[in-house]
């Protein structure tokens, strides 16, 4: 029986649309790309001649730089467009921006946008590959993929693990992508946070809801601690940052009561002393910097696969020849 050729499809809009096999293949493909960043000369000719536009309509440092490193290390030509410098300020619509990019004959767009659904919207309207680098409160698939890779690196599996996402689930694209990805790979998923920051009916997605962080810590193997956006206080979702830290902050004191060693992730940037205490962030259970390193490898894998690469040939692709 011949296996059908692996394909990620044209775009990566979200993990909700992917199968478990596709997600596993991305993680497997990331493995051979990890060592590229450890080389003295960090460049392989995988995407030579490809043009990639990084369209960041919302401020981002970590994700944008991570994508840019992934692209440059794969030898792609890249252009960055930010919200403040772009024609968007002059009133250009997303459709027109997309059409203009297309007219310049590009190969891929990495898009970050403040509106849920914006990445899929763009993907439906242009023939280039589109990678979602975060759309509103919808998905941030490469973040979830790097979280999955980091968990798998450390614990050697995803299936059967109990992973709890702590914090502002309501507004978090990281949470949604993690929920979809983890469930597909067979993990049990919990969410924990103040009720004001949990979407109504979130349990219907197949997750366990914890109202107290102590209960989440008692249950989980892995904690993924989300950043508390400071705007949430103004919106009245939490009374104060101090109170949030007292009630939901992940601290050594709380972790010590856990029945097992927990792995602690954070997608960054951290508010130390709010959702996570410094001794946890810098402590032995934290894999936060490992996540950042893995982010580059995962994004290289995604770009390579969308450009038409296949997982088995990733190793060979690094030594020349590109994807086709």
């Amino acid at each position: 029986m011949s296996r059908p050729a692996f394909s990620l499809g044209k775009d990566l809009v979200g993990l909700e649309d992917l199968s478990a096999e596709q997600i596993r293949s991305i993680l497997d493909t990331a493995e051979p790309f990890k060592e590229v960043s450890e080389r003295r000369i960090k460049k392989v000719p995988v995407l030579r001649g490809k043009t990639i536009v990084n369209l960041f309509m919302e401020p981002s440092t970590r994700t944008r730089i991570s994508f840019e490193f992934a692209e440059k290390r794969l030898s792609a030509d890249t252009v960055n467009i930010g919200a403040t410098e772009s024609s968007v300020v002059k009133g250009e619509t997303l459709v027109d921006t997309a059409r203009n990019l297309e007219a310049m004959r590009i190969d891929m767009v990495v898009i970050r946008h403040g509106s849920s659904g914006a990445a899929g919207f763009l993907a439906d309207r242009i023939p280039s590959n589109v990678v979602n680098a975060g759309d509103g409160s919808h998905e941030h698939p490469t973040q979830a993929l790097l979280d999955l890779l980091t968990i798998r690196d450390k614990l050697e599996r995803i299936e059967g693990l109990k992973v709890c996402i702590v914090g502002d689930i309501l507004h978090s694209r990281v949470a949604r992508s993690n929920i979809f990805g983890l469930l597909k790979l067979g993990a049990e998923v919990g969410v924990c946070g103040p009720m004001t920051l949990l979407p109504l009916g979130i349990d219907a997605l197949g997750v366990k809801v914890f109202r107290r962080v102590e209960e989440a810590i008692e249950w989980a193997d892995v904690l993924n601690v989300l950043r508390l956006q400071l705007e949430r206080m103004k919106g009245g979702f939490v009374p104060s940052l101090r109170e949030y830290n007292r009630v939901y902050g992940v601290s050594t004191r709380r972790l010590e009561k856990a029945p097992r060693d927990l792995l602690v992730l954070h997608p960054g940037p951290m508010n130390r002393g709010v959702e996570i205490d410094s001794d946890v962030a810098d402590g032995p259970q934290s894999v936060i910097l490992k996540q950042v390193t893995n982010g580059v490898a995962v994004r290289m894998a995604v770009l390579y696969l969308l450009a038409g690469g296949v997982p088995e040939k990733a190793e060979a692709a690094k030594t020349g020849g590109g994807v086709e």
Partner: protein, 434 residues
């Protein structure tokens, strides 16, 4: 200019206002209904319309339409919106005041009426703003608006958030015996919501408007109407608890009328999946349970009026990420076909009940002439071919708006002739018989 008499011959006349449902002729003389009866004789010079196999009903009335003029002519104009109304079988529409400028003065009321007369496609009854500039602060000069032609007041587009202002409106408007219409939504609960709050919004990562934002406001309005004895009209009801509350209030004798919109009768929030902006309206599409309750409300008369909330937008305004696109869909040209197909042809609803909801009750709720074919009423008639099959294609719309979630729906039943004051304002051409 006089109008020739018209004889609508041999159709199935459905006129719940007179309890008529049978094969009869309708004679219009000087723009008014002269007689309804068997084998009527036509005076000299009468235009005869053969209506065999057709339904002949009092002209359809839509009490909730956004014509967008003045200020939003790129979305719709009074001329294009009323042309769409005529094509949909409507002979009268009530124009919402949330234009730019807001219809909150006798001059702007007069403008809408004058533009409509000039277009001549259907009767347009302006609805005046409830508060100056629709700011929710102080009442408009309601008496002056009524004198200029307004048939109701509302801040539609926005709810009346201030309960005290709602009380004053419901009291003050009684002097003119007009309804006070409200878009029920507690903004402090719906906040920045762009769709129904529930499973689908959780999955899509879109901020939601909970049912409670509508329920709370409906109950508040009902209580204030009960307190004041005023005439309350609740617009586009979409939730189960709101339907229940209205039913109970009607049982208590509260003077309330209420609308259901075709989209809330036929669609749920699942339509939003894929971030489909043509499924974005306010109130939003809700769950299957709410949909069933709205259907039940329409069937039992709790929701006495079918209204489209026709809300045209320019296509590029809808061609955006979901949260950035405006609320609203067009409805004038699809409402009748949708209702005939999914309620009448499917046996859920009697023909006469549909005519009640689309003509008699809306005319009564807003105190408009028409709604029945009894003698001496305006000669407003809709002739429907109940067997006519057609497919919804926005490119065929007379409306400037193309924003409908019903594209591609195959329907059965369509208006083939619309008559306003004895004059034909729409005739479905043979070339349109797709």
């Amino acid at each position: 200019m006089s109008v020739r008499p018209m004889l609508l011959k041999g159709g199935r006349v459905v006129d719940p206002g007179q309890g008529i449902d049978g094969e009869l002729d309708v004679l219009l003389v000087e723009g008014m209904v002269a007689r309804v009866g068997l084998d009527l004789e036509a005076p000299e010079g009468t235009v005869v319309e053969e209506c065999g196999g057709r339904m002949v009903t009092p002209g359809l009335v839509d009490v909730h339409v956004h014509l967008r003029e003045p200020g939003g002519e790129h979305k719709e104009s009074i001329a294009t919106g009323t042309r769409a109304a005529a094509a949909g079988g409507f002979t009268a529409v009530c124009a919402m005041p949330n234009t730019d400028p807001v219809i909150d003065s006798p001059a702007t009321v007069g403008f809408v009426a004058a533009m409509a007369r000039e277009a001549g496609h259907c009767r347009v009854y302006p609805v005046g703003a409830l508060s100056v500039g629709q700011k929710g602060e102080r009442l408009t000069e309601i008496g002056e608006l009524v004198q200029a032609g307004a048939v109701a007041i509302t801040d539609d587009g926005s709810p009346v958030m201030d309960s005290g202002l709602m009380r004053k409106a419901l009291e003050y408007a009684q002097a003119f015996d007009i309804p006070v219409a409200d878009h029920p939504e507690d903004l402090s609960l719906s906040r920045d919501g762009v769709m129904n709050e529930g499973l689908v919004s959780a999955r899509l990562g879109l901020p939601g408007k909970p049912n409670a934002s509508e329920d709370v406001h409906v109950v508040r309005d009902l209580l204030v109407a009960e307190l004041t004895g005023g005439r309350l009209h609740l617009q586009h009801v979409s939730t189960r608890l709101a339907v229940d509350a209205i039913r109970q209030a009607k049982d208590r004798g509260v003077r309330v009328t209420a609308e259901a919109a075709p989209h809330h009768l036929l669609l749920t929030d699942e339509e939003v999946s894929g971030y489909r902006t043509d499924a974005k309206m306010n109130p939003p599409l809700r769950t299957a349970d709410d949909r069933a309750a709205v259907v039940q409300g329409l069937l039992d008369g709790t929701l006495d009026t079918l209204a489209t909330d026709h809300a045209p937008h320019h296509y590029e305004e809808k061609e955006q990420a979901f949260a950035d696109a405006p609320f609203g869909i067009v409805g004038l040209e699809t409402a009748l076909g949708l209702m005939l197909t999914h309620f009448v042809a499917s046996g859920k609803m009697e023909c006469s009940t549909l005519v009640e909801r689309m003509s008699l009750q809306p005319a009564r709720a807003f105190g408009l002439p028409g709604g029945t074919l009894s003698e001496g009423h305006p000669g407003d008639v809709t002739v429907i071919d109940p067997a006519r099959r057609w497919t919804v294609d926005p490119r065929d719309f007379h409306s400037r708006g193309r924003n409908t979630p019903f594209t591609g729906w195959e329907l059965r039943g369509r208006a083939v002739l619309t008559v306003v004051g004895g004059r034909v304002t729409h005739r479905l051409e043979e070339s349109e018989l797709g």
